[in-house]
Symmetry: C2
Subunit: 337 residues, 2 copies
């Protein structure tokens, strides 16, 4: 009996590694040290950090991978993966430097997986991070042959004292939302059960002018470069990446004691995909706001006098942003009205 | 319909986070910056690095998780996970600093998962790394309720120019093996098919005096602290972590052109678990050496005059080590005799 008989093909793994080499190394700027294919790869710190703090975060794309697999549309998942990780770094004010990806598959088919790794590399380039390494693990008999799971970890840097913690948030501050045109990579177990299992993937998702697959699988926007650009120029008191849940659950994580955020949901109209998911799935307004980003993928909190500059800065980076609420005295909480 | 109806319980996730807080933060030395529960956590570089290169690596425990799940013995997996990652860093001469874990589960049951995260934290403490963050992703309908997958990424540091690349390996150098008493976390799809599916988990694994579950699930040794200790004192030309395959496939990764490693397999007797796996599974000698570590979990290459000091250094760190071969002129390859 051989390892290959048991479903693990180390030669296929080697072939995949060779095929993704150009895409992976294309993300390597001049700070990267060492070669491709070693036990670990390295990166130097960019200049200008007096007292660097290294920040790490990790996340996956969740069961968006399962919907993408069923639809045969996996090319956007790299953007979801990179966005989930680097936007967590941006939320603490850290500049993302590098990323490693972890891909678990039932069967390692280089033809099928190469486009996935290419999309991760493309998203890394857009986010300005080096794809320093990765692991592709074959799990025969545990996962279906074409099933896969996708996660990553990212490394970033911020100067000590420059971390954005939310500590300085005070009453009167403006809460600014940055637009997300789609679901990003959260809530997909609900999307799957409530929408995909009911309508299928090829039906039109009502009101969106797109199929269910197209509407729900639209890739995540990557905010990190725009957030860092704003941080360079404008004092910002708090940042929240709307991830793993809704606006309230994420924004409250950075509020200090004694203040609440009052969010006026009338200041925007969520993209049509959210209405469609709510209607097809029979999901309440409150549950929608608890589970999904509802069109706001990132939140910044800043003194009111800086609000217009923050909004303009995101606009110049290509992201629509607007004031969605303000900070008031009160018990630490987020109130959606 | 709610997110919870779809199988995702954000409250259970919050409960797990609160329950693992003490174990996670117990790994945080004084270099860690920031609090628990934010979007990312940070660590400062230890002092003494003139031109630091940050190294990242990622790995998982593979389908050892599936065998551990079936056996109800998951407490050792943290050591496997941490060893797989930090020993890759040690193989390039980097000091491991921090780790993030990624846990995908069918159903997030805090009672079941807390021991797993505790074992990761305990292994991080042994390896001297801070468990900076983690993600627990619930994948209902995609994974069975009690199924899980476990991966991690690790961050390390080495001074530029001090990376161990194997470049300096030359004819006449000694190849030193460091003992692994067990399978570590590789080859488990083969172990599962060839042994577990035939004998079950509770039968005695012939010649080991232990059940199949006990023998195959024994946790990985963590080599990184011992490797770094040796590197501090002794010039070492090359290092290889025996992972994701056998001695030859890993050692060849660090050999320069023009030299071959001749390994004399008569210099040691593999632990009984390897013989038992080969015999029960009907696996050839060559396939065993291609797939498993065969009792050598880490390899160092050094000038012959330093060999005894390297062996003594590992011994002082609690790891048996001995010369298993030498470097000869020849086509870049590893020859097992």
């Amino acid at each position: 009996m051989t390892y290959r008989d048991a479903g693990v093909d180390l030669d296929a793994a080697d072939r995949l590694v060779e095929r993704i080499r150009p895409a992976v190394t294309s993300t390597w700027g001049r700070l990267v040290v060492g070669g491709f294919g070693g036990f670990a790869a390295g990166i130097k710190l960019p200049p200008g950090y007096a007292d660097p703090v290294l920040m790490m975060t990790t996340d996956g794309v969740g069961t968006k991978a399962e919907v993408a697999r069923r639809a045969g549309m996996i090319e956007g998942l790299g953007y979801d993966l990179v966005a989930m990780c680097v936007d967590d770094l941006a939320a603490v004010g850290a500049r993302p430097l590098a990323l490693t990806d972890y891909l678990a598959v039932g069967q390692l088919d280089p033809d099928r997986l190469e486009p996935l790794v290419r999309s991760i590399a493309a998203a890394c380039s857009e986010a300005g991070v080096a794809l320093l390494g990765g692991e592709t693990a074959e799990h025969p008999g545990v996962m279906e042959p074409d099933e896969f799971d996708l996660a990553a970890a990212a490394l970033g840097v911020v100067d000590a004292g420059e971390e954005v913690t939310g500590e300085g948030i005070g009453a009167g501050d403006a809460v600014i939302g940055v637009a997300s045109p789609n679901l990003r990579s959260n809530g997909f177990s609900l999307v799957r059960t409530a929408v995909v299992d009911r309508l299928g993937l090829d039906a039109e998702l009502p009101g969106t002018g797109r199929t269910v697959a197209e509407a729900v699988l639209a890739p995540s926007v990557i905010y990190a470069p725009a957030v860092l650009e704003a941080l360079l120029r404008i004092p910002i008191a708090g940042l929240a990446h709307i991830t793993g849940g809704g606006i309230a659950g994420n924004l409250v994580r950075v509020l200090p004691e004694g203040v609440m955020a009052a969010i006026d949901t009338a200041t925007w109209t969520p993209p049509a995909v959210f209405d469609a998911v709510a209607e097809v799935g029979g999901i309440s307004h409150d549950e929608m706001f608890r589970t999904f980003n509802m069109g706001i993928g990132f939140v910044t909190v800043t003194a009111r006098r800086h609000a217009e500059r923050v909004i303009a800065s995101f606009g110049a980076s290509g992201h629509e942003a607007w004031q969605i609420g303000e900070i008031e005295l009160g018990p630490r909480s987020v109130r959606l009205v």
